[in-house]
Symmetry: C2
Subunit: 472 residues, 2 copies
């Protein structure tokens, strides 16, 4: 607060005018304003935000005004651009400002930018910020795998922003992205041991150490630019805050995890729920009401975007699991202690494909199971080198719990081929051969992407080339 | 020479010790030594070269000793690494040193590095240096198309090096790479008008302007770092020097172009040849002897590596067009004025494919015709957007001379499809659909890669996805 007061004393209308070089202060000031009830912090945040778009920042060889999100005024923005963490910390602060002010032009700009993100600049893991250069967003569809930057902090910033978009709009699409990002892009940023960190999170690795412009396959204990490790710690420590919201109408569950949720819908209207689930390994979620309240209220349950089929039972009685326009299953009743809701989200391994305009995923598929994106890592393959692998997209995927592997994961087994690349020795290009390359059948074992790089260094890939349909 | 003398007075054993940060001086000093016959310039070059590998250079955040080719001693080097132009200017100077000294360890190291280049770090255009970051070589198989750096100067450095490897070994593989690089990577660096230049030469473009980390589709009149434009001018002005060599045994033709070659095999043994050809548009080359010499000598003619079939006639009589182990057709006789050699290299458009480990070319083919690599640019497509295009790899390719287009080029027409991507609107990933994406037949028109970006800005790609075999 003293720091906030100091900032207010230095910057603002009639005082110094400046645009912060790394957005963060906006959300901090708005939060301080909420805590203290004092508008001057909010006003200073607004002042900083309204300075943007004058191109005061940037101009160096590498750092343009786009890098600093200073190219266009915030309400005119239509794309996420420049330094990814800066960009999404700013949109996070802007969403906070919208939540305080209801400024419709701001929300419209935020929606345009969020759409730009998910329709062109998002990795399947939820990772953001494709480029090593300037740690920035690339152009739409510029999403290389081996050269992906995907800074852990970028993914965290994405969650922070989407969370506020949940608050602003109540739409499940934002909670879906939070889930995808948490379980994949962010969780991969920290080792299973919890004490080693990735700054850069590639979606493919040749098993070589980290080098300039290319992520490695070994997490480090610390980083020179030390943002990611504490940011991961902070996020994981505050994960409970992302599970649910409440308003006068009831409670909204956005993420599923074993938890106890206790709140008041209104003064004296305490409610409490217990959630039990082996999610994301299983799609079954059990909610038990521990405290009801004297009036009817609505329990809103997100139906995950990845979920192709769901069923729901309230006190053992089947209810239609239809999601509404916002992506939630709503059950309104006068909840009483002992009431139960059982959700069953169909959770089976399946293949996903990527937009044909993305160069790095062409002809490839990725394996997903529930919110988890999978990868194949060399350590799990019996007799195939990861770079040579192709998957048989027509063969079934089989899941099996492996308690001993990687602290316990559901493995996925797929059928595929190992392509014989010996004929390619010493050259990169050759006339197209009418004969298909020699290949042999292999079984592939996939692990959740978050768990990679916890064993000996080795090649890894999320996107797996599809074998020839004719070879089946 | 005064500058050379000054350098010799400052640097060397017992004087100052240093490693040049940007190799170039090595070849300059050796050339000066050749011109003047004074060994001290050669000795200083040797001194500079032998300092390398001590890691004196580098150590900053971005510029490692590998960036400066100062990681390992030159005779221990096995890979091309770091800043591409620096790396290849150094290997060029090292090859000069080998040519002066016959140091076998040096040639062995150069061969290892050349192999590392062509087996893992070379674009199909001959372009080198995949990364924008540090303008450097990537790891093997790291060859993105849209994000390719491929600095024009890197390609020029590659030609300079390979030329000296021709001199050192007499093998056609180096002349093949020179040809590929000249006609594609380098020639694309300058506009048809001759006054606009690319620094960065991507192999795919979305038609957007140049941005940090991504090449554009408009050449510039000049560049802030002004190496490429004059380097192109110098190379094109000296192109005649790369066509042929002579030794006591005869004349070796390495590149085909209409030209007159006059030399002396020995004092008083003048020979002269005239070469006429519409190469690279046509595979026919006619050599006429204008001056013979009194003794027999060998005319060596490179059979291009791209050439699947060739025929040769001497004075109208068919001779076996077999290339020897070095890749040359050799004809020894007492050549007389009026003798003719007619070569016919089968030159037809064909598809090439890339090593399966390269991410950016997976499932794609490129079109080549003779030494020219082709691309499809939006301006030539009638009813298909370049990003949506697939090629029918089973359909014939048809070449047609278009005198009016792009100062005269052989166009190549292919059959393919335009994929309907409307179902992808607003998302990047989706469950794999068993049904093939809707697509319609289109005709594709390809132009030589060197000629792209000379009309209105538009998308371009060298590597074209193969359509589904089943759709044929």
């Amino acid at each position: 607060r003293r720091f906030g007061d100091y900032l207010v004393s230095v910057f603002g209308p009639g005082r110094r005018t400046a645009t912060p070089g790394h957005p963060e202060i906006e959300m901090a000031l708005i939060e301080l304003s909420r805590e203290t009830g004092e508008r001057r912090y909010l006003e200073l945040a607004t002042f900083f935000i309204d300075q943007r778009g004058r191109g005061w920042l940037g101009g160096g060889r590498f750092n343009s005004s786009a890098y600093f999100q200073d190219r266009v005024p915030v309400r005119d923005a239509s794309v996420v651009e420049g330094h990814a963490v800066r960009a999404l910390y700013l949109t996070t602060g802007l969403t906070d400002l919208y939540l305080e002010t209801g400024d419709a032009a701001l929300l419209a700009a935020l929606n345009r930018q969020w759409h730009d993100l998910v329709a062109g600049k998002l990795y399947v893991t939820g990772g953001v910020g494709a480029r090593h250069n300037a740690e920035s967003f690339g152009q739409p569809f510029e999403l290389p795998n081996d050269l992906a930057y995907c800074e852990t902090c970028g993914a965290i910033a994405s969650v922070m922003w989407s969370w506020r978009m949940v608050l602003a709009t109540g739409h499940a699409r934002y909670a879906d992205l939070i889930e995808r990002t948490l379980y994949n892009a962010i969780l991969a940023g920290v080792s299973l041991s919890g004490d080693r960190y990735f700054y850069v999170n590639p979606l493919a690795s040749n098993g070589e150490p980290e080098l300039l412009s290319r992520g490695g396959c070994r997490r480090k204990e610390w980083h020179l630019v030390a943002c990611c490790p504490p940011n991961v710690m902070r996020l994981l420590a505050s994960i409970g805050h992302y599970l649910a919201t409440r308003d006068a109408a009831g409670v909204q569950i956005h993420q599923y995890a074993s938890a106890r949720i206790a709140t008041e819908l209104a003064p004296g209207q305490a409610v409490a729920l217990r959630i039990e689930s082996a999610y994301p390994w299983e799609g079954r979620v059990r909610l038990g009401v521990e405290e009801g309240s004297s009036r009817a209220w609505t329990l809103s349950l997100r139906v995950p975007g990845w979920c192709a089929g769901a069923s729901a039972r309230v006190n053992g009685r089947e209810v239609a699991p239809a999601r509404d326009g916002a992506g939630y299953l709503r059950v309104e009743r006068q909840w009483a202690r002992g009431d139960t809701v059982e959700l069953d989200f169909t959770l089976s391994a399946h293949l996903v494909e990527a937009h044909p305009w993305i160069e790095s995923t062409r002809g490839c598929v990725a394996i997903e199971r529930g919110p988890l994106v999978y990868c194949i890592e060399q350590a799990d393959q019996q007799n195939a080198a990861v770079p040579d692998v192709e998957i048989d997209a027509g063969a079934p995927l089989e899941s099996a719990w492996a308690a001993e592997r990687l602290d316990g994961v559901a493995l996925i087994r797929a059928s595929g081929w190992a392509v014989d690349t010996t004929a390619w020795k010493d050259r990169l290009y050759r006339p197209v051969s009418p004969a298909p390359a020699p290949r042999r059948r292999v079984e592939l074992t996939a692990i959740p992407y978050y768990a990679w790089a916890n064993r000996e260094p080795g090649a890894m890939r999320v996107w797996i080339p599809r074998g020839p349909a004719a070879a089946r």
